[in-house]
C-alpha cells in the first residue's frame, strides 16, 4: 500500500502539474472573487471563510478524475484488483495520495490567500485547522465519486453533480468554523473531524463496491 501511494505521488509529480495545477486553480478561483464582488475589504473579510472553503472544494474537485481514470484506461486498475491488497485498501491508498497532492498544499496555500481576502487575524488558526481536518473528507468522498464515474466517458460533469452534494455538510461546518463570531469553533471543528474520520473509515468499502461493479 505504501508503494502504491508513492507510485501515485511520483506519477503526479513527474507528469507535471500535480501540485501546481491545483494550486494555480485555487489562486484563480480566489482571485476571481474580488473581481466579482468588488474590492471592499470589509465585505471580503466577511465572505473570506466561505470563499476559501469553496475554492478548496473546487480545486479538489478538479483533480478527482485523475484518481482512477488513468489506471482504468491503461488496465492498471484490473491488475491492481487481482493483487493481494483488497480493493478497499487500493481505494484508501489512492485517496490518501490524492490528499497529499491536493488537500495538503491547499491547506498551506490557504494562508496567503486568506491574507489576500483580508481574513481576520484570529481566523487563520481555525482556517488551517478546519482545512487540515476537512480536506481528507473531500479526498475520500471524491474518490468515491471517481470510482463510480470511472467507466463513463467524459464523466467530469456528472462527477461534479454527484460529488458536490456530498460535500455540503463538510463545507457548511468547515466554513462556519472559520467564521469569526460563531460561538463554538472547537465544536464545529470536532464535527468536521468526525465527518473526515467517518469517511476514511467507511468510504473505501463503498469505493470497492463501485470499482468491482465497474470492473465486472
Amino acid at each position: 500500500m505504501k508503494s502504491l501511494i508513492l507510485r501515485d505521488l511520483r506519477l503526479a509529480v513527474r507528469s507535471g502539474g500535480g501540485f501546481a495545477l491545483t494550486l494555480s486553480f485555487f489562486l484563480i478561483v480566489v482571485m476571481m472573487v474580488p473581481f466579482g464582488v468588488g474590492a471592499n475589504l470589509d465585505l471580503l473579510a466577511r465572505i473570506a471563510p466561505g470563499v476559501l472553503w469553496i475554492g478548496a472544494l473546487l480545486s479538489c474537485l478538479l483533480s478527482l478524475d485523475r484518481i482512477f481514470q488513468l489506471d482504468w484506461e491503461d488496465g492498471t486498475l484490473e491488475a491492481l484488483a487481482t493483487s493481494p491488497i483488497p480493493l478497499s485498501g487500493i481505494a484508501t491508498a489512492k485517496a490518501t495520495a490524492h490528499w497529499i497532492i491536493t488537500g495538503l498544499p491547499i491547506t498551506i496555500a490557504a494562508i496567503p490567500l486568506g491574507y489576500l481576502l483580508n481574513l481576520e487575524t484570529e481566523a487563520y488558526i481555525w482556517l488551517v485547522a478546519s482545512l487540515s481536518v476537512g480536506t481528507p473528507a473531500l479526498s475520500f468522498i471524491g474518490a468515491f465519486g471517481a470510482a463510480i464515474t470511472v467507466g463513463i466517458k467524459r464523466g467530469g460533469l456528472l462527477l461534479s453533480l454527484l460529488v458536490l452534494p456530498l460535500y455540503i455538510p463538510t463545507l457548511m461546518l468547515g466554513a462556519q468554523c472559520v467564521t469569526i463570531g460563531s460561538e463554538t469553533p472547537i465544536k464545529l471543528l470536532a464535527l468536521v473531524a468526525a465527518i473526515s474520520l467517518f469517511c476514511i473509515a467507511l468510504i473505501p468499502f463503498a469505493c470497492a463496491i463501485a470499482l468491482r461493479a465497474n470492473l465486472k
Binding site: 468522498i141 454527484l162 452534494p165 456530498l166 468510504i203 463496491i209 461493479a213
Partner: protein, 240 residues
C-alpha cells in the same frame, strides 16, 4: 409463500396488474375527498386566513418526497444483497416521482411563504434540506442515464443511494449549525399529544393516505413500464 416470490418479474407483473386498478381508484378517491374536504369544508385559520389550506398538499408531498428516497434506499439494499431486478427497477421508477414530490413541496411552500413570511424563499434549515434532497435526486437520475450497461448502472446507483442517504442525513443536521430556522416545528407526530386541531388533522390524514397510495400506484406503473422496456430490449437482442 413469501414476499420474495414477487421478485420474479412475471409474478410481479401479474400481481401488480391485479391490484393496480384498486390502488388507482382508492388513491384518487381519497385524494379528491381529502383535498375537497380540506379546501372547502374547513374554516379559515384565524391568523393565516385561507392560505393555511395549502398544507393539505404541502405536507403529504413533503412526506412522500422523503419517503420516496427511503423506498429507494430499501430497494437499493435489496438489489445489492439479493440481486432482484424488480427491486432495482422499482428504485429507478421511484426517483422521478420523488423529484416531483420535492418540487411540489418546495413550490407550495413558496406560495404559502410569500404572504406568511413575506418571502418565497429563505435559507432555512428545512427549506435548504429539501433543496439538497432535490440535488441528490438529480445526481441519482443522471447516473442512471449515464451508464450503458443496465446491471452496472443498478449497482452504481444503489451504492450512490446508500452513501447519498448518509450524507443527506448529515446535511439535514449540519444545516442546523449553519442557519436559524424560520419553518415551524413538526405539526404531526406519532409520539406527541399536541397535534393541529382535529378539523385540520382529519382531512390532512386523508390527504396523506391518498398521497401514499398515489405514490404506490405511480411506482407500480413506472416499474411495469421499466420491466416491459427491458423485455423489449431482450427481444430485440434475440433478433425477433
Amino acid at each position: 409463500m413469501s414476499l420474495w416470490e414477487y421478485a420474479n418479474p412475471a409474478k410481479f407483473m401479474a400481481l401488480s396488474a391485479r391490484i393496480l386498478p384498486y390502488l388507482a381508484i382508492a388513491s384518487s378517491c381519497l385524494l379528491l375527498a381529502g383535498l375537497f374536504w380540506g379546501f372547502f369544508l374547513t374554516p379559515a385559520d384565524y391568523k393565516q386566513g385561507s392560505t393555511v389550506k395549502i398544507i393539505f398538499l404541502h405536507v403529504p408531498a413533503a412526506l412522500m418526497a422523503i419517503n420516496a428516497w427511503l423506498m429507494m434506499l430499501v430497494t437499493s439494499l435489496v438489489w445489492l444483497i439479493r440481486r432482484h431486478h424488480v427491486s432495482a427497477l422499482a428504485a429507478k421508477a421511484a426517483a422521478p416521482i420523488g423529484i416531483t414530490m420535492t418540487l411540489i413541496a418546495i413550490a407550495t411552500g413558496a406560495i404559502w411563504g410569500k404572504p406568511m413570511w413575506g418571502t418565497y424563499w429563505a435559507w432555512d434549515p428545512r427549506l435548504t434540506s429539501f433543496m439538497i434532497l432535490l440535488v441528490f435526486y438529480f445526481g441519482y437520475l443522471a447516473l442512471w442515464e449515464a451508464i450503458e450497461d443496465k446491471d452496472t448502472a443498478a449497482d452504481l446507483t444503489s451504492i450512490l443511494c446508500i452513501v447519498g442517504s448518509i450524507f443527506a442525513l448529515l446535511s439535514r443536521y449540519a444545516v442546523n449549525f449553519w442557519s436559524q430556522g424560520l419553518h415551524q416545528g413538526a405539526s404531526l407526530s406519532l409520539d406527541k399529544e399536541q397535534h393541529v386541531d382535529n378539523t385540520f388533522y382529519l382531512p390532512l390524514l386523508v390527504c396523506i393516505v391518498g398521497m401514499v397510495l398515489l405514490f404506490l400506484t405511480l411506482v407500480l406503473i413506472r416499474t411495469r413500464t421499466e420491466i416491459r422496456s427491458r423485455r423489449l430490449i431482450a427481444l430485440r437482442l434475440r433478433g425477433i
